[in-house]
């Protein structure tokens, strides 16, 4: 169990470092795949199987594919090279990242989290989540649903054929 945790943690951290350090945008996108997979592995070990699957479904199946598509379509024709990230706002970037790191570090130290959080239970989290969504959190669930439908219709309208 511990070995699995450290493997997934290493996968997440190392691929996140690749995302940060490579200047090829597509490499970052492909490395992000492994970051997200490692994260979902950590979720499984923490007993949140449903969240782990949703993580892959939304972030890998949806967001990441959209990201890669976007980068590929902005590929400048002729040069044959994928876009490379520039070096702008380095000072403010470092400042913001460092500040966030200190903030999170202090919060995690004070939160007194069990580390590593390894208490996977044999019971799945699917049923409680389903019941929760249909009872206590019905209104937020419905509002999120309507919001997504509006977004879908808007996207279809924008992408649809315009009659001039």
């Amino acid at each position: 169990m511990n070995i699995a945790f450290y493997c997934f943690a290493a996968l997440t951290v190392l691929s996140a470092l690749v995302v940060l350090w490579t200047r090829q945008l597509l490499y970052s996108a492909f490395a992000l795949l492994f970051t997200l997979l490692g994260m979902s592995g950590l979720y499984v070990l923490a007993g949140a199987d449903y969240v782990a699957i949703v993580q892959i479904m939304i972030y890998v199946g949806g967001v990441l594919v959209l990201l890669i598509f976007g980068i590929m379509l902005t590929n400048r024709p002729g040069t044959g090279h994928a876009p490379i990230s520039g070096r702008i706002n380095q000072f403010t970037g470092i400042l913001a990242a460092g500040g966030l790191f200190v903030l999170f570090f202090i919060v995690f130290l004070k939160a007194n989290l069990p580390f590593p959080a390894l208490k996977s239970s044999p019971h799945s989290s699917v049923t409680p989540i389903g019941i929760g969504l249909m009872t206590d959190y019905l209104l937020p669930f419905e509002i999120a649903g309507i919001l997504l439908m509006v977004a879908l219709m808007g996207a279809a309208y924008i992408a649809g054929r315009k009659r001039l």
């Binding site: 492909f30 795949l33 199987d49 892959i56 199946g61 890669i68 590929m72």
Partner: protein
Amino acid sequence: MIAFLFFLVFLLVYMVFAVYAERKLSAFIQDRLGPTEIGPYGMFQTLADLVKLLQKEDIVPVKADKWVFLAAPAVIFTAIFAGFAVMPLTPTLQGSGAVVGVFYLLTIVSIDIVGLLAAGWSSNNKYSLLGAMRSVAQIVSYEIPVGLSVLCVVVLCQTLDLQEICYQQGIYIRTLPVYSESTNYLFGIKRLGIDMTEVGGFLTWNVIRMPLFFIVYIIFFIATLAEANRAPFDIPEAESELVGGFHTEYSGFRWALLFLAEYGMMLLVSFLGAVLFFGGWNTLFPNIGPVRLADWTSGMPGTIYGNITGAFWIILKAFIGVFIQMWVRWTYPRLRVDQLMHLCWKVLTPLSLLLLFISALWKLL
């Protein structure tokens, strides 16, 4: 662990014979002979082809992005192979008994899209890139009808676990502690009052428990055909337009791996269709009065006989699914891109939404 090793070896052996079967089948449909030279009836043709492929040079184009190019086939195959983890092979043998079963399967298979994009982009070839883009557009669109048709079954079975779905469709439903009190009624309608729990056979499969599931299965079959990039949905490969699609630049071992992934996907969706609609590892024959056909052709869960018969039935059903996929491939012409999107968004998706609604109501009958 046993399931892992079994599926890995099984997939390799299956691929060798599936390619042979496909060539013989296409030859039969087109009134040709197919492979005849090597071995009896040309049986060892694929083995010879495989040896040739493994000997070939693994060419990486000079202008290709080397690391992404080399890694992409592995990502594609791993994504598909990971799907087999939750597939129940016999009443007791299953790689992982994860409760999120079928949801995991649909999700992990979608990682394959990233692999396809990586393969197409890193080849640095416009045909590969076009093939990858077509392929991804197609897979992303057809995930919706697949998801909705699977949801129809999940609504009726009220579980995501594929093993539980299997148990529900046979005579051994009461051996599972969760269902020790449940009863299978004819067509799933309690008011008819016809108890089918002891009868089993095909009469308790999901297609009979909810007769409209046959239409759901057709939607599932068409959509998974598109997910596997098989003809008539093979515009990502469309030899006459795109040379070879996203795998134009691959050769030797890596090309074999991509091929293995394609045949693996065919097998995976056939297995899934068998589990969701046609009783999984349950036998075809029902118990008719004193003629205990169901008891004779499927052993108790946990016994050796139960394992053998379970594996036999599910593999037989999956192979029939693969056979129909091949049959369709050599019979129907390829769809155009606009026809493809029309079929997905204007036919399959609304129809599966309607069927999902009816399935939810059926549960209340």
